[in-house]
């Protein structure tokens, strides 16, 4: 048992940290304010290998361990969790192919991402199917060598700019989770309409749209796994990506804590820095210990994946704990800043708005609790 990061992990962390500090953070307020897509920054991240980290070496990728990806995710989110969400969206969208694609599919749908800056979107959620994945209504009807795709996907990260989509759909909504499959949609086929970018509360640098499919033809060879296997593919994907989302919370909260500490040391009230007051000290102490706990919990959930073990329980612990922790830490950071914290002139209110989304996307805190309870209560 050893808690120290290896030299390799430290080197990867170093690059991600430098990128977060020099490329992401100075632009974070601008892209939050404008809600524009930070394409140049994301492209630079791609050039440095900070995207598509899951692609196997066989297909030109760097195939980082889950632990390495988690270490990197913290630093990216420290820089800006909105931008980080757009970067990691690629990995989320490519994971179904990495986990369940054939060799030919990997060659066709993964390799181009290592050769050229491309964006991908993961399409699972629908207007009427959020936490209830099996309630999806997006249908695919087989016609010869094609599927005819009809329906809507909601909250699709990078959807406006994506070159490739991993779309979950069903052969028959009545079959619930047994009818789901995953189809790869490339480019902008006829019948695909991209909605307008959502005006979100936080993580405003990440592009979020609705996708509408009207009789979109998708070749059968673009199906990942078999008909009916889509639910498992989606769940496996989320098991893999959950540590990264948890790490976003850690990076976001760490940024808030650092701002809070700096501010508390220089803000004077009653003739001394507010850091001298126990009320402020306790908030900082809670932030620090909970950030640390969330990080270790997430490392374990990533480590389990690297060890080839099922990580559903621990990764749900991590996602739930980390997301709720970040919400609390960023709220306290705003509190420490007082009136200034509530102003957009200071960085902490953005972190608080950003944190809220981490409790919602990729499995809400409530769904994580459900998963945890089910894991604990199942069986004899």
């Amino acid at each position: 048992m050893n808690f120290a990061l290896t030299d390799d992990l430290k080197a990867l962390q170093d690059t991600a940290r430098k990128f977060g500090r020099e490329a992401m953070r100075p632009k974070a307020a601008h892209f939050d304010e404008t809600s524009q897509f930070p394409r140049e920054i994301i492209q630079q991240a791609w050039e440095l290998g900070l995207m598509n980290m899951t692609i196997p070496q066989e297909f030109g990728g760097i195939e980082l361990s889950h632990l390495a990806q988690a270490v990197i995710a913290e630093e990216l989110a420290w820089g800006c969790s909105g931008m980080a969400t757009s970067m990691i969206a690629n990995d989320l969208a490519l994971l179904p192919i990495v986990l369940s694609g054939t060799k030919e599919q990997k060659e066709k749908f993964l390799k181009p991402f290592t050769e050229k800056f491309l964006l991908a979107s993961f399409g699972l959620t629908e207007p009427g199917a959020g936490s209830d994945v099996a309630g999806m209504r997006c249908t695919a009807r087989r016609e010869g060598d094609f599927y005819i795709l009809n329906g809507q996907k909601q909250w699709i990260t990078n959807g406006e700019f994506a070159d490739q989509y991993s779309i979950f759909c069903t052969t028959d909504p009545a079959k619930r989770h047994k009818g789901i499959m995953c189809l790869i949609v490339q480019g902008r086929p006829k019948g695909l309409t991209v909605g307008k970018h959502e005006n979100k509360m936080g993580q405003r640098a990440s592009n979020t749209v609705t996708l509408t499919f009207e009789d979109v033809k998708v070749p059968v060879e673009n199906r990942i796994g078999q008909e009916g296997e889509g639910f498992i593919v989606a769940m496996n994907t989320l098991d893999n990506s959950r540590p990264l989302t948890a790490m976003f919370a850690v990076g976001n909260a760490r940024a808030a804590m650092e701002h809070a500490i700096d501010y508390a040391k220089q803000r004077q009230q009653f003739g001394k820095p507010i850091a001298d007051f126990q009320g402020v000290q306790f908030m900082i102490a809670d932030m620090a210990s909970e950030i640390h706990a969330a990080r270790l919990l997430t490392y374990e959930s990533a480590w389990k994946l690297d060890a080839g073990e099922r990580n559903t329980l621990v990764s749900s612990y991590a996602k739930r704990f980390a997301a709720d922790m970040a919400m609390k830490a960023t709220t306290d950071a705003v509190q420490i800043f007082g009136g200034y914290g509530y102003s957009k002139e200071y960085p902490v209110e953005k972190l608080m708005r950003d944190a809220k989304l981490i409790q919602i996307y990729e499995g809400t805190s409530q769904v994580q609790r459900l998963v945890i309870a089910r894991e604990l209560l199942k069986g004899s």
Binding site: D7, D8, K10, D14, T15, K18, F19, L48, I72
Partner: protein, 268 residues
């Protein structure tokens, strides 16, 4: 034509760390410190990589002297793109002559066309190794290498080297940072160049670069195998913090300011 360049990667305290003098007053508190490649050395690695890229390939060999910990800095240079690393394994205090001596021996073995070193290390700020090395090798030297173009210039963005090698590779033109501004000199190759801060903006170690660096070779030597005396001729007897800055004062008028500058600060 391909060129071979030797660069250095000293392990130094991260410039963002808080440095404290230890209880004995003869060194610093090492606990909890983070270490980085000396930033001036990193600029040297970057310049070497740019030169090699411009001149149709070649080799960048990175050297560091110290315990196995220096592998971290060697790997960083390898991740940036250096071809191979040489580790001179040595524990304990080191002086600039030992380091210059080790580099001299490595250069005699490796026979590079050029050596690019940081002008100084940010830990002890000695600024001597490059000069010793050039003298002992009998090479020409250009210290404090800089450039005319700004960090926002097209030349910098397109990662052009600031050091200009002549077509016949016989001379190197170097812009130097001097007190009055910039000075341009021409050196006969082979030569030793030491880098100043404004020579370039070093690249990131990319993730694929970091992964590739794991399989690049690190060759091991010691001062003894190189035939260099590894005992330090310098002993640090005392180390102390600079005096704390005093609070500023307000002067009523310019006459009072001039008077204080003359009589108290004695700068005019």
């Amino acid at each position: 034509m391909p060129i071979k360049i030797l660069v250095t990667a000293k392990r130094v305290e991260d410039y963002e760390s808080k440095i404290k003098v230890n209880a004995q007053g003869n060194g610093i508190v090492l606990e909890g410190l983070k270490y980085k490649i000396n930033p001036f050395d990193e600029i040297g690695v970057e310049e070497a990589l740019r030169l090699v890229a411009k001149h149709g390939g070649g080799e960048v060999v990175v050297v560091s002297v110290g315990t196995k910990d220096v592998h971290e800095q060697l790997r960083h240079a390898l991740a940036m793109g250096a071809t191979k690393a040489i580790w001179v394994n040595h524990a304990g205090p080191l002086d600039q002559m030992t380091i210059a001596g080790c580099l001299q021996k490595v250069i005699e073995k490796e026979k590079p066309d050029l050596a690019v070193l940081g002008k100084q290390a940010i830990d002890d700020d000695q600024n001597q190794v490059g000069q010793y090395l050039a003298e002992w090798l009998g090479w020409s030297q250009a210290t404090f290498a800089s450039k005319e173009e700004s960090m926002e210039s097209e030349a910098e963005k397109s990662k052009q080297p600031a050091l200009k090698l002549s077509a016949d590779a016989k001379t190197l033109t170097v812009v130097r940072e001097v007190d009055g501004g910039l000075e341009t000199i021409e050196c006969t190759m082979p030569c030793v160049v030491t880098t100043d801060l404004r020579l370039n903006q070093p690249r990131y170690a990319s993730l694929p670069g970091i992964m590739k660096a794991k399989s690049k070779p690190i060759e091991e030597h010691t001062p003894a195998t190189l035939g260099v005396d590894g005992t330090s001729k310098i002993t640090v007897t005392k180390m102390e913090h600079p005096p704390a800055r005093k609070a500023g004062i307000k002067v009523p008028d310019i006459a009072a300011l001039v008077d204080k500058l003359k009589t108290e600060a004695k700068v005019i």
